[in-house]
Point group: C2
Chain length 322, copies 2
């Protein structure tokens, strides 16, 4: 294994993403020493039990001491406070990044809180599951996923070197890296992540509380499509509250566009405009094909969940066709 | 294998569901002889090549001759015409059912088109994938899924016997059967299937055609949640056009409720009401847990699609942990 990209890494906040960064970085040899800070006693206890950190503490300042890379992996609106707590102990020349789903607000909070002597490079891995907490982490989470970095508008050599090194780090973890302006990131992610979560939370909440249809019926007959929405509606509530509050403008803009289109669909149904519905429904298949071709989705029907080969001991995938 | 539930079955329309009914019925021994009618030459060619039917024809009347069970598996608004074509050849005492996603409109069309000498029992298996056509069918599709039958308001012995026999048929195919009033079915499915499809088609359509964000970006960063919606938005356009046109009232009612809730969410974001968002986001996890407990969803993160064990030849699932 080649030499580590960063000998010492500190991860502040060890949920699904923080734990996955650690597991992936360790598995790839990208880091040697890992310190974790987490405000939750329960999370610290789990991290200690899982044994993937060299140091586990409640204090961000203790964790970041001597770290070459600091990864803030707390909810978006907790970034500023965590950064202020870590700031006095940061090593000169350390790289500081984060994994928050919103970038402009986080960049502002980090840059304000942290000394000029470190390199702040905000980031966002487009990867995750609906589960939360350190036990939900796994080393393969970033394989073939995209990580967006939103570097500051600086072109001094040391900063550019720091950006390149952070790219190397994520590449070692299996990800593909893209650089982007933070405001553009926030608009793109409002489309591909924030609005989908808002819609899913809304439809699942509405279905749970209807006149005339029971919760039991909603659950029993959910294989008609509804169950798909429950996955992302099971995501961490604190994380998502913070995303909507700190990317308000882009989310409301994209939501406005969606609402217009939904009203047009509603009108087409009300007036029996079959051709308009057919034309719309015919265009959307292509997008899924593109996502599968881009390696971002399983090609199997139903995401593969109902359709898996039933293997018995002694069978190999080659001897039992799916 | 015990004796067949229906010696001769005719399937009118052989797409994903029609083909799966045939494969599941054959695998379970629930039928002996299968005739298929399909209006599409391409579908007939595939059914012939796949070899799972004893007779393949364009003519519904030819297919239903001597059949004990006739299953209409065409798009909802094509049911009436298919039934009229089959009617003159139907055997006295045959059971006629369908697999349409809307029940009140289909019941009306079938009962109007068919002779009183057969038993019309509308039905709807809550199962499917985003794929279409006879090649997409598979025998396990109905395992542990629900089938809703919406019998007519008749209590004569021969009809009740016919309903029981159709229950036995679906049970043999691995499904669980529930009886329901057709109007109630249409309301329940508007919640668990029709609205989710409408929302998914709308969000995927909107994202494909935005100012400021390219299609390429939408595809690349779709793992943030958007890709989930593309699965059901890849469903058959004809089928879904017909569903919305023939279940208009229930869909618009449920859409109205969803839109109200979405406006409340939008307002909470605009005014920064974090507590309201948090409270809403905390309630929806429970619904997913209920669906998993009811056996209607995979408990694995991300539906298991990114997280599957990589098996090599010679490994068994017992020797390689996920």
């Amino acid at each position: 294994m080649s030499s580590p990209v960063y000998p010492k890494m500190a991860v502040i906040g060890c949920g699904l993403i923080g734990a996955s960064v650690i597991l992936a970085a360790r598995a790839s040899g990208a880091v040697t020493h890992v310190a974790v800070a987490d405000a939750s006693p329960a999370a610290r206890e789990r991290v200690t039990a899982l044994g993937f950190a060299d140091l586990v503490t409640a204090d961000p300042a203790e964790a970041v001491k001597d770290a070459d890379l600091v990864v803030f992996a707390v909810p978006v609106m907790a970034m500023g406070e965590a950064a202020r707590a870590a700031a006095p102990a940061l090593k000169t020349g350390a790289t500081v990044t984060d994994v928050g789903s919103v970038k402009a607000a986080v960049a502002e909070a980090l840059i304000e809180a942290l000394p000029k002597s470190c390199f702040v490079i905000p980031g966002h891995p487009i990867a995750g599951t609906e589960q939360s907490g350190p036990d939900a982490g796994f080393a393969e989470l970033f394989q073939n996923r995209w990580v967006i970095l939103t570097p500051q508008a600086r072109d001094d050599e040391p900063y550019l070197d720091a950006v390149q090194r952070l790219r190397d780090f994520w590449t070692a973890l299996g990800a593909q890296v893209e650089l982007m302006d933070d405001k553009h990131h926030d608009l793109v992610l409002a489309v591909t992540s924030h609005l989908p979560h808002l819609i899913a939370y809304t439809i699942v909440g509405a279905a749970a509380d209807l006149e005339g249809v029971t919760r039991g019926e909603v659950m029993k007959y959910s294989a008609g499509g509804f169950r798909d929405f429950t996955r992302i509606a099971a995501s961490d509530p604190t994380m998502w509250r913070d995303v909507f509050l700190s990317n308000k403008d882009a989310v409301l803009e994209i939501l406005g566009r969606f609402t217009e289109d939904l009203q047009a669909m509603s009108r087409a149904i009300r007036w029996g405009e079959g051709d308009k519905l057919y034309e719309h429904f015919s265009r959307t298949r292509e997008i899924r094909r593109g996502i599968i071709a881009a390696g971002q989705e399983s090609p199997e029907p139903n995401f593969g969940r109902d359709h898996r080969p039933v293997l018995e001991a002694g069978d190999t995938p080659d001897t039992k066709a799916q």
